[in-house]
Amino acid sequence: MQEFPTVAAISTSLGTGAIGIVRMTGPDSIAICDRLFRGRRGNLAEAASHTLHYGAIAEPESGELVDEVLVSVMRAPATYTREDVVEINCHGGPVAQQRVMSLLLAQGAGLATPGEFTRRAFLNGRIDLVQAESVAQIVSAKTEAGLRVAMSQLAGGLSREIGSLRDDILGVLASIEAGLDFSDEDIEGMDRQATGGSLTGIAGRLQELIESAFVGRVLCEGVRTAIVGKPNVGKSSLLNALLMRDRAIVTEIPGTTRDTIEEIINIDGIPLQLIDTAGLRPAGNEVERIGVERSRRAISEADLVLCLFDGSEPEDDHDRALLTSVPMDRTILVINKADLFRGRQPRFNRGLLPAEPVVISAMTRHGLSQLRERISGLVLGGALPPLEGPMVTHERHKQLLEQSLSALGRARQGLRVGLGEELVAEELHGALTALGGITGDEVVEDLLDRIFQEFCIGK
């Protein structure tokens, strides 16, 4: 195995736990930690693998105690990175973590780059590509549910399902290829109907996997939500109101740098990722036009649109224009500033709206709980599948699966209209190549293996 230098990083466990962890990986990690660690029972150098040690981290020269810690020692190769790993669990909050970290650096550890631990796990052959990408996902998983999905990917759920789909396609392709490359031998030709049937089954499973992608992304990245409305309608206020109730989950996770930390609103366990449209202060027509353009883009990217109207004013052209541009199936109409017309009819003409609006006041927080209900109702729609089974959480994976599926579709179509077997095979090769982009497997050798296993070839 290749030796990488020893590196360390601060990693905070997900959620709000008070304990922060400083992790270090590499050949010198135990030795480096030993120079700072004051334990009750001697040196870490003698510690067995996977043991936990209570003690303190101290400044090596002055002997000043920095924090009370629990250190876990894990020796290569049975570790996440397949290298020696030390985890220092600090009690003293962020400040103590920072100090421990800087002591480690002073003792010769390098600063881990984002994703470094996972990269090593991958390079040292600990995990495969799909698993590595899932870890990257964990690093950015925003909710518990998202984390659970990412964890099950890591256990190889997605790899397994794709592997099994690939196997099934290979089986079909092998039966076609055997007929093409060995047609002069005693091999039964392809049964178009049976082949079509198998492909339909495979396509169905692929489709399911692709459909899981939305849920997978939502759980890991959040429902992309746009708050739109004319200037001063109360977009920022609504955002703040939502944020105040649901303090944003701010995570500081190994491998992510501070500037990538994002704010997320959690509504009944559904993470909402807000697409920024606030902050536009239009003055003059030109800016107005840009504003419209910007909300249009936000709408097109969004999974969910909150469309705001000012209930204290009569509707205007801007409101009417907005109504025509929002996709009603994923939009919630909101009338704001209810405190200004409390108990009375809003001045805004409700008859204009194609669906029942939620009436709120961002200022007094009136109606916010109804809004939250509407949001979770719309997103879940009773349709969120249970969180089990493999799930696609990467855009790249989803695209490859879609490529694979459309190649399968062409193969099935080809079978129906009597296209040559070599052309059907061409599509199936395409389907497999796309899956190979996820799993990194190659087609030809596996295909030949299948042919020789299943068909008696050779004269």
Binding site: L123, L180, E422, G437, E442, L448, I457, G458, K459
Partner: protein, 633 residues
């Protein structure tokens, strides 16, 4: 003693060791490209001998032979000369997987190849046995014969087939031999190993031959060959007549129980054959063992020539003891009274692990030493000849100080073959299959000349007179395609009736002929008949067939071309020779070791090495870019 082309201190440009299918192509290519060439071989009686089945071509392999022909090689022409039966395979399947297979008269094949060799300028032929290579400062300088004499050379091509450390196994007998009745080369593999080349060991087996007077043809299916036989070579004159039939029979339960009863004597069980054998060529013993549910296996009974009574029993490969072979044969319908003439046998031999070669087939370790044919871990005459041709071309180009001639995977099956060998190595004797070619729809039997003849001409191998024939074909094809695109077919009642009969939608208005031809079920003759004219210009049946293929495949061909373009960046990014991988951070250890060993020529080749992941390739490309930028500064 020193052997040289002349007495004035000259040395041979190219020395080829081995007069098999690879060696013959090498020697001819080098001599035709103007190099003084020597072909050294063990026996002048055994030039271009076919130790296995008396046939050339087949699916995947036939495409190779066509490509050899297109580049200016000999195998296609020689096969046509010796052909006694021709068949186009896969006619019921798509054109991309069609291929020719020829039964040949073995003796005639050898004789006519020898005649061509003897008539080739710049080529000297010598009987003798190479005992070692002479290497000085990591460059080859010649070969040494077993009698101690030396042949100095600028380049050497080894094409020694199954002879390196060869051992034959028949039943319990086991003895050194290169082929039945021929001595092995025992000193040469030692010399190669001493020069640092790594060797592996493979095995292969051949079928028993029987006396044609002793079969009962009535109990077998007769297989007469094609009614209108094509020729392998674009440049062959005349048509094939008087085809000789083959026969087909099947083993049955009786055959299988004889085999099962004696399985304990099979080398599979006794372990008397070492080395890995090809999965696609299993012995009948293995077939019976691995596929117990099959109640029959086909046996093709093929004549070995017009002037011999030997019939070859394709499908009954075995190295069971001779007396068991007879029992097995006699248990098979139609062969009850067959008299064995030559028993089947297995041979095991050393090969040079081919990932030690460059794409030019030159060894990485020893400059100007080229290897071709079975010595590289392949099997088959076509695979051997294809490599022989490329090694011959590249030895000649090395002498002339030119860049190596390398065919891409998207250009030719030959490119796929060599790239596979060099990039992935082999773990069983390598044979071509169409499924190995990712661009199979482009690499067809029918367009081999359009693809490769311009290159053959360009490197000075394909004579102008032949190239002119290819150019003429291309013009005719172009004209025909133009005509089909610009000619409208009208919806006459006759045409619609015909379409209906073929299960195709009737025409409601006029349509370009080319458009109509895209329908899978419509063929060019339907259209010509409807318009009532024959094809324009000088389009013969081959050109007409090609126009149809081009039109029907057009969409797919476009897609494959786009895929090729997408990969172009990888394929075009060259890795400087001598680039070292051992300290590339961010590339996995396994990948670095593989890269260091293979020394890929391009990023594309690197990406195909097993154990090199897409992530490794991106990291590698960053390093290359960095290096490139640093050099540009």
């Amino acid at each position: 003693m020193t052997i040289a082309p002349s007495t004035d201190g000259d040395i041979f440009d190219v020395v080829v060791v081995g007069g098999g299918h690879a060696g013959c192509e090498s020697a001819l290519a080098a001599a035709r490209m103007g190099c003084s060439t020597l072909l050294l071989t063990l026996s002048l009686e055994k030039i271009a001998l076919m130790p296995c089945n008396p046939a050339v071509g087949g699916i995947g392999k036939g495409q190779l032979t066509r490509e050899i022909d297109a580049l200016g090689g000999e195998q296609g022409l020689n096969t046509d000369r010796a052909c006694i039966q021709m068949k186009l395979l896969n006619t019921s399947r798509g054109p991309a997987v069609r291929a020719l297979r020829a039964q040949t008269d073995k003796k005639l094949y050898e004789d006519s190849m020898k005649r061509v060799l003897c008539a080739t300028e710049n080529l000297r032929i010598l009987e003798g046995s190479a005992a070692g290579i002479i290497v000085s400062r990591e460059t080859i300088t010649g070969v040494e014969l077993d009698d101690g004499s030396r042949i100095p050379a600028k380049t050497v091509i080894l094409a020694c087939g199954t002879f390196l450390g060869g051992k034959i196994v028949v039943g319990e007998r086991r003895f050194p031999a290169g082929r039945m009745g021929e001595p092995p080369a025992t000193a040469l593999p030692v010399s190669l190993a001493e020069s640092g080349l790594e060797l592996g060991r493979f095995q292969s087996a051949t079928h028993p031959r029987i006396d044609s007077r002793t079969i009962d043809a009535d109990r077998m299916v007769i297989d007469p060959g094609d009614e209108h036989p094509s020729r392998f070579s674009r440049f062959s004159q005349g048509v094939l007549r008087n085809q000789v039939p083959c026969f087909l029979t099947y083993t049955n339960e009786r055959t299988h129980s004889v085999i099962r009863e004696h399985l304990h004597l099979s080398p599979i069980k006794t372990g008397s054959v070492s080395g890995k054998g090809p999965r696609y060529c299993p012995s009948i013993d293995r077939k019976v063992m691995n596929f117990p549910d099959r109640d029959r296996h086909p046996v093709f009974v093929e004549p070995e020539g017009r002037h011999t009574g030997e019939l070859y029993l394709q499908g009954l490969t075995t190295s069971l003891p001779v007396w068991v072979q007879e029992l097995v044969i006699h248990a098979t319908p139609g062969l009850e009274k067959a008299k064995l003439m030559r028993p089947g046998y297995a041979v095991e031999y050393d090969y040079v692990i081919p990932d030690q070669l460059r794409l030019s087939l030159e060894t990485k370790r020893i400059a100007n030493l080229f290897l071709a044919g079975q010595i590289n871990g392949t099997s088959g005459y076509e695979e051997a000849a294809a490599q022989g041709l490329i090694a011959g071309i590249n030895a000649a180009r090395s002498v002339m100080g030119r860049e190596p001639f390398v065919l891409g995977r998207e250009q030719a099956y030959i490119g796929v073959l060599i790239d596979d060998l060099v990039t992935k190595g082999v773990d069983e004797p390598y044979r071509m299959f169409t499924s190995r070619a990712e661009h199979r729809l482009l690499l067809r039997h029918d367009n081999a000349h359009a693809r490769l003849s311009p290159l053959g001409r360009n490197i000075g191998l394909l004579p102008q007179s032949r190239y002119a024939m290819v150019q003429e074909d291309e013009r005719a094809l172009e004209d025909l395609l133009q005509w089909l695109k610009s000619t409208t077919v009208s919806p006459t009642p006759e045409l619609n009736k015909l379409l209906e009969k073929k299960g195709s939608a009737p025409l409601t208005e006029g349509q370009a002929a080319a458009q109509l031809l895209k329908r899978p079920e419509v063929c060019i003759n339907d259209i010509l008949k409807n318009i009532g004219v024959s094809a324009p210009g000088n389009a013969g049946p081959d050109i007409m067939a090609r126009s149809e293929i081009e039109l029907k495949y057009a969409g797919y061909i476009d897609r494959q071309r786009q895929a090729i373009e997408r990969n172009r960046r990888l394929e075009d990014t060259r890795i400087p020779p001598g680039f070292t991988y051992l300290d590339l951070e961010g590339v996995s250890r396994e990948a670095r070791d593989r890269l260091e060993r293979i020394q890929p020529a391009t990023l594309g080749q690197a990406s195909r090495i097993s154990g090199v992941t897409p992530a490794d390739v991106s990291v590698l490309s960053l390093y290359l870019k960095e290096r490139h930028d640093a050099m540009a500064d």
